[in-house]
């Protein structure tokens, strides 16, 4: 469900699923872990194609952040609608930097 590329030394991970929910969370975590273990620690997670995230999906994103460690950054790009609402409701918008676009997120992380 994930595709990725490196831009300006930042790993951009695009989530291709419309729903990151309890059925998808375990494989999402596995795929994210592989990306993180590849050595990149400045990461933008592109959620612009995602319409729905539940607490399992959110928890998987949080656990990736924790796995990244103190020298890493995991920024979120393109969260909208119900997805952005979930981040706000849970105060996860204070834990993750949320950007409207991948470009804005990459610019911030590569600065």
């Amino acid at each position: 469900m994930l595709t990725s590329e490196v831009r300006s030394n930042v790993l951009v991970i695009h989530v291709g699923e419309k729903r990151v929910d309890a059925s998808k969370a375990p494989s999402f975590k596995d795929e994210m872990t592989k990306c993180i273990e590849s050595g990149q620690n400045q990461i933008v997670l592109d959620l612009s194609a995602v319409e729905f995230v539940d607490s399992s999906g959110l928890g998987a994103i949080v656990s990736c952040l924790k796995r990244l460690g103190p020298r890493g950054n995991l920024a979120i790009a393109g969260a909208k609608g119900a997805v952005s609402r979930l981040f706000t409701l849970t105060r996860m918008d204070k834990v993750f930097a949320l950007h409207d676009t991948v470009e804005a997120a990459v610019e911030r992380l590569s600065a």
Partner: protein, 147 residues
């Protein structure tokens, strides 16, 4: 005038999206996007809990969802026949779940958010068990609808 629908799925996490779609389909034209999002999230979290915690991930069990559309509210009930949830879990689930220190990653939750989210998204939430059946009843009050 109330109208209701009843949906039944197998206890399979892959099927939860179908129920979400169906519930959203029934309600969407009557609700604001925010209210529809709130209901969809609550229904998904409730069913996830039944499948993961009630039935311990066992497939082949029934989860029933009843949706009742009333002039001023939407009532959703999620029914299962698993062992009952501990009654104080619902009382303890509040928005305090998210009152963590965001500068301390250890405090940021990775799980156990479902009940708090249901209580934050719905106006009334009640849990009861009788005759081997558990019922989570969730009510969303809706404002006057644009005609």
């Amino acid at each position: 005038m109330a109208s209701s629908i009843s949906l039944m799925i197998d206890s399979d996490l892959d099927k939860v999206a179908h129920i979400a779609s169906a519930v959203r389909g029934v309600c969407a034209s009557l609700l604001s996007t925010d209210d529809a999002d709130a209901i969809e999230l609550s229904v998904v979290e409730a069913i996830n809990n039944v499948i993961k915690h009630g039935y311990h991930g066992q497939p082949g069990k029934d989860v029933q969802v009843l949706v009742s559309l009333q002039p001023d509210r939407v009532v959703i009930e999620v029914l299962d026949r698993a062992s009952p949830m501990q009654s104080d879990l619902l009382d303890q689930a509040t928005e305090d779940r998210f009152a963590f220190d965001e500068t301390n990653l250890d405090e940021v939750p990775e799980g156990g958010m479902g009940l708090a989210l249901i209580r934050m998204n719905m106006d009334e939430v009640e849990y009861s068990s009788a005759g081997g059946e558990n019922r989570l009843r969730m009510v969303k009050k809706v404002g006057p609808r644009a005609s």
